[in-house]
């Protein structure tokens, strides 16, 4: 019997499609909200123009996420149909074979089982081909997801940050260690210019003390919610499993090379993932 769950795939595809619509909505809202901030403040000048270019690029990136996410949802939905058919055909074959056996291999039932077997083989073959096609589509769409911001000012700003993108580099599918670099507070900049962080600003500090007795769940309260969605290495514990662990215990587990703990420790201790 081919593995997998067509029902789950269809439900998740619908959820991804809703997220895709949400991304498009976010892009539209970004345009409206940021334009309204500028006009409401009567903001003019070079800095205001830089702000509009940056936020326009951001809005465009969010809107651009809709298409690849929808393509993935559609590809998976189509594959789910093939998987369901294959599972039904294999189940029918199993049933026909069992019946033939029970009837002492009666030739009529044997023929029926043989036909069901051919049907099942064809359906499994079609399911594999559909899976290959869906995989190609998902890979292409994934590539598009990786390039949502194009080469505009947001990508330029991300690339100019000098702290390496190492926190995510060790996670599956999250790029190379020397790739785009983000989240560092830039050095001294002059004047009231939007999108340049003023001199001396160090950004939000990690909100746990050095003693390391804080629970993971407490540390998570000061972190971006999205870090708990980061794909973790195989064998990692779930976030709920480690909620009561202290940071010292997490550090010890990371030192002991327990699966996933190095990544978890990075996510918990990197100030770039702090909430505002």
């Amino acid at each position: 019997m081919p593995g997998g769950s067509p029902d789950a795939l269809e439900q998740l595809a619908a959820r991804l499609k809703a997220a895709a619509a949400g991304a498009a909505g976010l892009g539209t809202s970004t345009r409206q909200v940021t334009a309204s901030i500028r006009s409401g403040a009567g903001w003019t000048g070079d800095a205001a123009d830089g702000y509009s270019a940056f936020t326009g690029n951001l809005a465009q990136g969010a809107v651009a996420a809709e298409a690849p996410m929808s393509r993935i949802a559609l590809a998976v939905q189509e594959y789910a149909g093939s998987l369901r058919t294959a599972q039904q055909k294999v189940a029918a074959y199993n049933s026909a074979a069992e019946t033939a056996q029970v009837t002492g291999n009666d030739s009529g039932y044997m023929n029926a089982a043989s036909l069901a077997g051919q049907d099942a083989a064809a359906a499994v073959s079609a399911q594999q081909a559909a899976g290959d096609r869906a995989a190609a589509e998902v890979r292409a769409a994934g590539g598009d997801l990786g390039n949502l911001l194009g080469s505009g000012p947001v990508r330029g700003w991300l690339d100019r940050q000098s702290v390496s993108w190492d926190t995510l580099a060790g996670l599956p599918g999250l790029g190379d260690p020397v790739g785009p670099q983000i989240l560092k507070t830039p050095g001294a900049e002059l004047g009231p210019e939007i999108l340049k962080t003023p001199p001396g600003e160090l950004g939000p500090l990690i909100n746990y003390s050095e003693q390391g007795n804080e629970n993971v769940s407490d540390v998570l309260k000061g972190k971006l919610g999205s870090i708990t969605r980061a794909p973790l290495p195989r064998g990692s514990p779930s976030w709920s499993d480690i909620g009561n662990m202290t940071m010292n215990e997490v550090r010890a587990a990371a030192r002991a090379n327990q699966p996933g703990f190095k990544t978890i420790l990075k996510l918990l201790t990197d100030s770039r993932f702090n909430k505002q």
């Binding site: 959820r15 809202s29 901030i37 009567g42 996420a65 290959d132 949502l148 962080t197």
Partner: protein, 104 residues
């Protein structure tokens, strides 16, 4: 050559919260999208498709986290710029007061 500027610093600073709201929406979308992609990988029953979906989950996660970070940057920068504009205005007002005071 830089042009002159005009701005209502208070209103600019207030916009920071609106952008923080957009950042929050971005994070929710990140979670939903990555959950869906990772879940599909686990339910695919096809190794190649599962691998592609895992890769897309990673690419999507990175893309959305980058956008969330950019939203935060805009939000922080609006606050910082509003403060800087207000500070500049106060300094100009103080100097103008001193200069104009000399005419009295």
């Amino acid at each position: 050559m830089a042009q002159g500027f005009s701005v209502n610093a208070n209103k600019l600073g207030a916009g920071s919260q609106d952008v923080a709201g957009l950042q929050g929406r971005c994070e929710i979308i990140t979670g939903n999208a990555v959950d869906a992609l990772a879940g599909m990988a686990g339910s695919a029953g096809h190794a190649g498709l599962a691998s592609a979906l895992t890769g897309a989950a990673g690419q999507g996660f990175k893309a959305f986290v980058e956008m969330a970070v950019a939203y935060r940057h805009v939000s922080d920068s609006l606050t910082a710029s509003a403060e800087a504009y207000a500070g500049t205005e106060r300094a100009i007002a103080a100097r103008a007061g001193a200069i104009l005071g000399g005419f009295r």
